[in-house]
Amino acid sequence: MESYKVGDNAPIKLKVAIETEAIPMTYAFLYHSINDQTPYSYMTPFDPTQKTGWKQLDNGNTVNGKFFRVLTFLRFFIDFPDEKTFNLAIKQVEDTYETSINGGDDGPYTIPFKIEAVYATKTCVLEGAIKLT
């Protein structure tokens, strides 16, 4: 698990960038520990192509020692004629998706992500997670 040094800095901020034909919705959660099943704080879900700026984690409170997850769900409203065309649309998602965190000791940091795309439902889910130290 990657980590990002925040110390007592506040606010810590998140920015999500993506260029896609789909409608993306981003969800961000803070947990006290990696084993928690319920977040203690979350952001109001947003479309990162429309809300492009930095957003504060936990309303600007310190987040030292917390576990942070950010997920983006995409739904394409295109009648793809075949899976090959869908895969080309997903390639653009992979190439342009970037979740950045800022406010820590080392400046902006890009959170690594994993991706799952499903042609049958014309959807795609991306997830990144990081330990805030």
């Binding site: 429309q50 997920l71 769900f73 080309l88 799952e116």
Partner: protein
Amino acid sequence: MKYLKYLGVLLTSILVAQSDTNPTAGLKNLASPNSPAFVLMDIAPSNIIVPDNIQAFSIQTISAFSGNSKDGLGNNNYAVEFQPYWYVKREKMNFFKYNNLISDKPEGENVSINDYTRYNVFGDAWKKASVSFALMDGTFNVFEVPQSYVSVGARTRLLSVKTRNQIDEIKSQYTSYEQFMSSPEVIAIFANPSLSLSEINTAITSLEGYQAIVQNFEQSLRRKPFFALDVAVAYSHFMGDKSQDMNDAFGRLGFWATGDLAFYTPTIGKQSHVHVYGVFRYLRDGLNLDPDPGDLRIENATDYGAKIALELDKLSFGYEYITRDSENNNEERSIGSIRYKISEAFTINGGFGKNFRSEGSTVALFGIQWGLDFDSSVVLDPNK
């Protein structure tokens, strides 16, 4: 009677394609059609109409219903068509830009749904542009034995106009979707860290509320633009015939423009439209044989006419009448067509009637079109 026979073959082909058996034999020799590289040679039953969603890469094939038909179409006619849009990076792309909606807000600022106040009528020009290449052989009423041609073509939707009502509907559906995706039941699924990405996807897409909203949204987006102008250009080169002492030469050059006025008729079907098309084509035709010296000569022709079509969810019927104003005489083309969409990637086409130069006789063509899918149930290999 002849039409009934052709219609019977078409319906049989549809049934074969829908059955579990491998339809290779049944569909191998059927004809297809609408890439500019094919249509230029008058061997396709319909005019250039840009489909809503072209495969990023597709193969088309066309053959004569009978190997020795009077139109002289040979058995080796293939075209590839691809859409460059999907192969390059789409800068600053988002859902609204893809649907031609423009915001007045400066770049970098947060945007709300009400900021999308304008519609880009040229927004489909690059998105729907496609390029096609074809290899074909035929006599085309000029040669005694089929000759080879190489064609290249391009087409796109130059203009697209949606009504205020259509635009408001899209914005309203976006708002509903965004609200649903921000609801507590959706957030709870994403908040659960024990779910895998696959499980999250299944959980979201299985929600009843999600399915209802997405279905309504797609229905709104599938409505045809009130007006669309499609354009195309194609060139076909005659490869020459050593046996007749003919060198390679200019074949045909064509420009098309098709205007489509679409009237939404939801009382007939969910995606039903009545289309009224206006058609224009300029053709510079080098496939004319001078009887005296036996050389090829070039003629210019202008086509104009109209087509009316009823498009139901999967089935469409049409009739087109086109007049050709050429240097020597005037001709006409009067063709009825039928199109059945089996799946998103597989369509069967048929057409019958009187074509240009057919001197009153009928033409009949049936076709298939499918995406380059390695799981396809249809193969191109004629030996199979």
